[in-house]
Amino acid sequence: MQSFEPLIIAFVCNWCTYTAADLAGTSRLTYPSNVRLIRVMCTGMVDPQYIIKAFLEGADAVLVSGCHPGDCHYINGNFKARRRIRLLKEILPQFGFEADRLQLTWIGASDGIQFTQTMRELTERTRELGPVASRSQMVF
Amino acid sequence: MSTPATRHASATDTREANPLAIVQEMMRACIQCGTCSASCPNASAMDLTPRHLWRLVQLGRMEKIFQSHTFTLCSACYYCSLRCPRGLNPSDAMAEFKQIAARGRMRQYGDTTHFCRDFVDNVRRNGRLQEMTLMTAYFMHMRRPTLPLRFASLGWKLQSKAKVSLPTLRRGAPKLEALFRKVEEMEGDGT
């Protein structure tokens, strides 16, 4: 268990959180290499399917991160995302994916530090949770 | 209490018709921000704040202004003028009130007006201030027999500390006289 390194898939919006990720990079801040960033145009385009797929295929946590409320480049995509995450937070924990494994955050363009902190904290939390129970034996 | 809005002075008013005109001219642009009042070191002793006073000026409330002793407390430190965001000169306006009061020989400011006049006369006559003669002249002008009593303890204190000079020769007087004449000439109206 000690050597467990979680895999985290982060769907980040092109406008805010991706900029924050870049800002973290240019500020020479590092975040755990456990995280795989998938840039999306907007959190509002993250289909619940993607998150389910990520969990089934091997993600130990999934983060969806976009602009602060009111900041969305596409006006309200982040609000739509929030409802979808709310929905999945009802469904996934029922099947052994602890609620903490799915996270939604608002990380603005200037929040480079917050970005790395979030990544670190999520990695740490996921490490605590350990691997998704019995997934490795499943052959669905 | 409701009062009708008093007539407002305009630039064409003569000083006689509206003694306030000159102060109104000076303080019209006041926006009542209160910087003067907050800046004023004597504000706590004033019955009306300077801002209140300027507002009364704008409204032409002569009687209320001259019921107040606010302007007599102005020590002309010019803090207000330094800070006024409208670039006005409240210190000078205060001085102008004093002038109006003096010119109008307003009884309520008699103390101040007489004292001021006797002070100047004393210096003019003696070339310097002679406290004893100043107070004598002041008491005479005030014609209030009880008045000297009010100053008695102060006078005693000052005298015990040798702060009151005895009458001396009028050494500087001739030189000062020329100065006073020149001022009179410049002011023209002899007040």
Binding site: D22, M41, S110 | A11, A29, A38, L59, P85
Partner: protein, 1146 residues
């Protein structure tokens, strides 16, 4: 890289400059955008959030049509448009010619770091020994002499502060890409001549200079010797002693300058001859040094001269028009009297600095702590009007936006602290003049608990115990109050930006008394100089909304000039690159940047190659060095020609850096840009090696992550749909509804650009409110404007006027609307047009308050203006006139400030005072909204003796009428503490403005109304005249309460926005764009609800769902809401996403 000929040069790359540049570029102009600063974005690059949205949203300025012409990225990272070149650190040095044929000379200061080579790794920063205040964070944090200009910036990220740099040289070897040039070689060559009759002076100077790296120093002991040497070598700098036997210093100077005026000379003088040295400066000496001088001062001066010589690059271009968009700069509260102790009291900062305190990349990383000592903030005070509305410092104007900025900062502070922080704003008038500002204020005050105190704090002292700021102020209650706070934020006003004076001289554009550029009457974007236009805050401190409207108007005026002078615009239709057949199997070329060898050293490249080529779609893997430079893209281009891939995967650092290269590569190879993907390798410097200071690079990604990133890139490309998007034809004609100020300006603007306009007006005449307006606050008569507009509209061959017509129905989409108009007789006509401009205007609001309608002496401001216009107003007959402001406005039922009422009341008061100096005028107000330069008229009105009496909405003035024609007002004066009875001959009510935009009409075009009934903009800050649905625009009073000049500018702005569409024969989608797979679609229409842009609709005839590709912005909300993939987002599709997830977990 740069072009030689531009359609327009825009000076200032703040948001107004960017707006003008984009507007011009989107209508086919090549634009050169320059800025004094090393980065675009101006003041706003330092702000994370704006009022009243409390968000950023700057990216909403990016093109919505032909989206692919610009990079879809946060504007704070950088700004790229294919028709815009941006030159940082550049100033105008000379301007010649006129409209259509300006010769523009520019002076660019090189920043010591080559932006093409710098990869932003930051190695230099770690070794730089110079610790200095960080400008970007308003000096609240520290930076190095070599530093990042904007934390977010990706390209041209680092610059050297030449004044602070000690030229220690540490950064040069450590830079892995050799991007830093401290000009040591040129320093060695830089030729200096020291002329002094004293040997000791000559020798010591020479030694000092040699030590500083200036190896080419000659000396001469006399003027004659110096002249000989000057003939022999190309001396750049002379240090001349004033007093020498024989030819003296000044004579030598004159002769030396006579041949080479560019030569720089510095005089050296003893104290006794300072006058001579000063005199010498008139003969061309740069400066003088007094002997005995400090070697450091001497060397600093020589360094300055050297820097100016080597680091300035001159450029010359031509331009058809010039737009000045230099913006404004913050007033320095430390200037002058400085009653608030700015710069001396540690806990007094400016509002701009507080923005940095709030920022996630600010000095405290967004934690709400006091900058000076890190104490958590619990009490913050804002002081308004610092450097504004202050006649003592020649600032008899209002900086207009500070009230809202402070409100916003207070709300943001509340947000950050979960409402724990106590916030107090000390103000004189809370100027919430925009249409959404009043509700913002109410919310801040009532819901968020921001304290608003109407008082002016006269000075700030320190608490003797805690050292915390102590504020003293006179309350409205007449008592003195004291408040101790943790931090004082000075709502500093604004001043013209520093280069304004020089620009005015170069361009001959006039300035006003405050130093801002002076626009022409009714033409906010026009300067006094022909061909020179004005955008944004260079004319007056303004908010984003107004700056952008004016910027669009400036673009319009520039475009008009270009057209008049016959400039050919370079609008290419259709994608240059050929598409790829959808059924062609993917052939991916993967090019991986080895970034100065870092990859080959540390990576098992074989493993990478075998990993990638396991997928047969990857046809070749190529390792290239320095893909970021021109060197790298050459081999790549050759490989593309050789391998003929139909997809390209690039792994390099910072995708944005490669924008220009990628575009060029696409043009040259024909491979569409959307089939190229750049994976960010996040290159980082390694720790210094033990034996050398030099660093190498590594990618910050672990080996496994890099491999996964590449696989994800392959997955993304492999599953992308290569089909080129379709184009939709455009009806190149405009419909303008409403023939008032805004409508006429819009119609003329579009018609002047050669497109047909149908102008529909309900009334039987043009002009709208111009018909009754008599003169403006500034004293301009309105009638001539109306006559001129009326004439031009009627005579314009491109304008078809439909008087007494109304719109009864409309259908369509951007590029193709069909509108049915009907005349009074009921005859209808169908108009086809590509764009719609709603300029339906507004009216003075009706009222029944204060006895209006019951007495003839109670009138509205409009009625008074009519009386003035007709000569009926008999000022001489009136002794007392009273006015009440905010009648029915700024109340929950009509929750906006009508903005024009205060200027109108004051205009009328001044008019009456002029006609009858004895008339007494009382204006009853809540907050006097004399924003910007109109403030000076407020001062004037006060000076003229107009009495202003504040009232509170909780306690409205009373009005009684009597049969003798006198109206008696009763109101309490809170300062004088008296109840006033004002017996007036005339009571004038300012009832404000209401829009005249029927919801039904707006709905025809998919537009909606805001809570006040005005047109709802797509974004109140960033898209001020656009509807959310593309192709529909609004201006004038239908948009917001506006003055004539503002309405004219809004009309032009709307026209400019419309021209972006009309200038195309057809419109195309960008990448990504949504589409529909009809075979799967069951018309549940959830996607229609999800689309924020109204780009989706049901085609009722064909019973199928359609997407307007031009309106779609590619957010993908539709695809996420669609359950079975009938709604898809091309180029970011579900197939790509699922494949990327698979690759990510590999």
């Amino acid at each position: 890289m740069l072009r030689e000929n531009y359609h327009a040069v825009i000076i200032g790359a703040g948001i107004a400059g960017i707006r003008s540049a984009l507007d011009l570029a989107e209508t086919g102009s090549d634009v050169l955008l320059i800025d004094r600063a090393a980065h675009p974005g101006g003041l706003l690059s330092r702000l994370d959030a704006q009022f009243p949205t409390d968000g950023c949203g700057m990216c909403k300025m990016l093109p919505l049509l032909e989206r692919d012409s610009a990079e879809a990225t946060c504007l704070r990272k950088g700004f790229f448009h294919e028709r815009i070149d941006f030159l940082p650190a550049t100033e105008l040095s000379h301007l010649e010619g006129g409209p259509g044929r300006f010769a523009v000379r520019l002076k660019q200061t090189l920043q010591g770091v080559d932006p093409q080579l710098c990869i932003g790794c930051g190695a230099c920063e770690t070794v730089c020994p110079v610790d200095m205040p960080d400008d970007f964070n308003s000096g609240l944090s520290r930076s190095k002499a070599i530093h990042r200009v904007v934390p977010h910036a990706v390209v041209g990220a680092y610059v050297i502060d030449a004044a602070a740099c000690t030229r220690c040289g540490a950064c040069v070897p450590i830079c892995p890409t050799g991007a830093i040039d401290l000009a040591f070689d040129r320093r060695k060559e830089f030729s200096i001549l020291v002329v002094d009759d004293e040997l000791s002076v000559r020798d010591s100077l020479k030694e000092w200079l040699l030590n500083e790296g200036f190896m080419n120093v000659q000396t001469a002991e006399s003027g004659a010797e110096a002249l000989t040497l000057l003939e022999q070598s190309d001396v750049k700098l002379l240090l001349i002693d004033v007093k020498m036997p024989g030819m003296d210093g000044v004579d030598l100077l004159k002769q030396a300058k006579a041949d080479h005026p560019d030569r720089v000379a510095v005089m050296m003088t003893a104290y006794a001859t300072v006058d001579t040295a000063v005199e010498a400066m008139k003969s061309g000496a740069l400066d003088y040094l007094i002997k005995p001088f400090d070697p450091q001062a001497m060397l600093a001066m020589v360094n300055r001269v050297f820097q100016a010589t080597v680091s300035v690059q001159e450029r010359q271009v031509t331009a058809g028009a010039v737009i000045l968009a230099g913006g404004m700069t913050l007033f320095d509260p430390g200037e002058g009297v400085n009653p608030y102790g700015y710069g001396t009291h540690p806990h007094v900062i400016t509002s701009l600095a507080f923005e940095r305190v709030l920022s996630g990349c600010g000095p405290s990383q967004g934690r709400l702590v006091r900058p000076a000592d890190g104490k958590p903030l619990q009490r913050i005070a804002w002081l308004q009007c610092v450097g504004s509305r202050d006649c003592q410092i020649s600032a008899d104007f209002c900086s207009r936006i500070c009230c809202m900025i402070s409100l916003k900062e207070a709300v943001l502070a509340k947000n950050k602290s979960n409402d724990a922080v106590e916030t107090t704003i000390f103000y004189t008038d809370m100027r919430t003049f925009g249409k959404s500002f009043e509700p913002y204020r109410r919310q801040a005050e009532e819901e968020r608990g921001v304290n608003l105190v109407r008082a002016r704090v006269h000075s700030v002292t320190a608490s003797p115990e805690s050292g915390d700021p102590l504020l003293r102020y006179a309350g409205l209650d007449g008592r003195m109050h004291e408040a101790e706070v943790d931090l004082v934020v000075l709502a500093a006003g604004f001043r013209p930006s520093p280069e304004t004076e020089a620009l005015a001289e170069l361009t001959q554009a006039e300035r006003n008394a405050w130093g801002f550029f002076q626009p022409q009457p009714f033409a906010a974007a026009c300067s006094s100089a022909e061909g020179i236009y004005l955008a944004g805050a260079c004319t007056e401190p303004v908010e984003i909304n107004a700056a952008l409207i004016q910027a669009s108007a400036a673009a319009l005026e520039a475009g008009r000039t270009l057209r008049r002078s016959g400039s050919q615009l370079a609008l290419a239709e259709g994608p240059a690159a050929k598409g790829v057949a959808p059924d062609a199997p993917p052939r991916i070329l993967a090019a991986i940047c080895t970034c100065h060898g870092c990859l080959s050293e540390t990576r098992n490249t074989e493993k990478l190659i075998s990993g990638l080529t396991r997928d047969p779609a990857v046809v070749q893997v190529l390792f290239v060095d320095q893909l970021c430079g021109a060197d790298g893209w050459g081999p790549l281009e050759a490989a593309i020609k050789d391998v003929a891939p139909n997809r390209l995967l690039v792994a390099a650092c910072h995708p944005l850096r490669h924008s220009t290269h990628r575009r060029a590569l696409s043009r040259r190879t024909g491979l569409p840009e959307n089939l190229m993907t750049i994976v960010d390798m996040k290159i980082e410097p390694t720790e210094p090696q033990a034996d050398t200071t030099a660093r190498s690079l590594r990618t910050a990604l672990g080996e496994h992550v890099l491999s996964a990133s590449l696989q994800m890139g392959v997955a993304f490309l492999k599953h992308t749909d290569p089909t080129a998007p379709e184009r939709e034809q455009v009806q190149r004609k405009a419909l303008v509804i409403g023939g008032g100020t805004a409508g006429m300006h819009a119609a003329l603007a579009i018609a002047d650009m050669g497109y047909g306009v149908d102008l529909v007006e309900k009334e039987n005449r043009l002009g709208g409110n111009l018909a009754w307006l008599h003169h403006t606050l500034e004293g301009h008569a309105v009638k001539p404007l109306l006559d001129q507009l009326d004439d031009r509209v009627i005579q314009h061959p491109k304008i078809t006027l439909h008087l007494e017509h109304e719109v009864v129905n409309a259908v369509g989409r951007v590029g193709d609307f069909r509108t049915t108009v009907q005349n009074a007789q009921g005859r209808t006509e169908i108009l086809r047009h590509g764009v719609t401009i709603l300029a339906t205007g507004g009216l003075e609001a009706e009222t029944t308050a204060y006895g209006y309608g019951t007495h003839r002496a109670i009138v509205t401001q409009q009625a008074l203006e009519r009386q003035i216009g007709s000569g009926e107003a008999d000022a001489a007959a009136w002794d007392v006139v009273a006015m009440i402001q905010c009648v029915g406005s700024r109340e929950p039922s009509r929750d906006y400030c009508s903005r024009v009422c205060c200027p109108t009341a004051i205009k009328h008061a001044l008019y009456l005072k002029e006609k009858n100096p004895r008339v007494q005028i009382y204006i009853l107000y809540r907050d006097v909204m004399m924003t910007g330069f109109s403030e000076s008229y407020y001062t004037e009105a006060r000076r003229a003796g107009v009495v202003f009496i504040p009232y509170r909405p909780q306690q409205l003035p009373g009005v009684e009428t009597s049969p003798d024609g006198i109206v008696t007002l009763s109101v309490r004066d809170p300062i004088a503490e008296v109840d006033l009875k004002i017996e007036a001959n005339l009571l004038v009510l300012a009832t404000g403005v209401v829009p005249r935009l029927p919801a039904k009409l707006a709905a025809f075009y998919g537009a909606t109304l805001d809570s006040g009934g005005f047109f709802q903009e797509a974004d109140s800050k960033w898209r001020p005249v656009d509807g959310l649905r593309e192709g529909v625009f609004a201006c004038g009073l239908a948009l917001a309460p506006q003055t004539i000049t503002e309405a004219a500018a809004a009309g032009q702005a709307a026209a400019q926005r419309a021209l972006r569409i009309l200038c195309h024969e057809s419109l195309s989608a960008g990448h990504p764009t949504a589409a529909v797979r009809h075979s799967l679609c069951v018309l549940c229409q959830r996607c229609i609800d999800a689309c924020p842009y109204g780009a989706r609709s049901v085609d009722l005839e064909q019973r199928r769902l359609v997407v307007d590709p031009a309106m779609c912005q590619g957010c993908g909300a539709c695809a996420a809401v669609c359950l079975n993939g009938a709604a898809i987002l091309n180029h970011h599709g579900a197939g790509q996403m699922l494949a990327m997830i698979d690759a990510a977990v590999e």
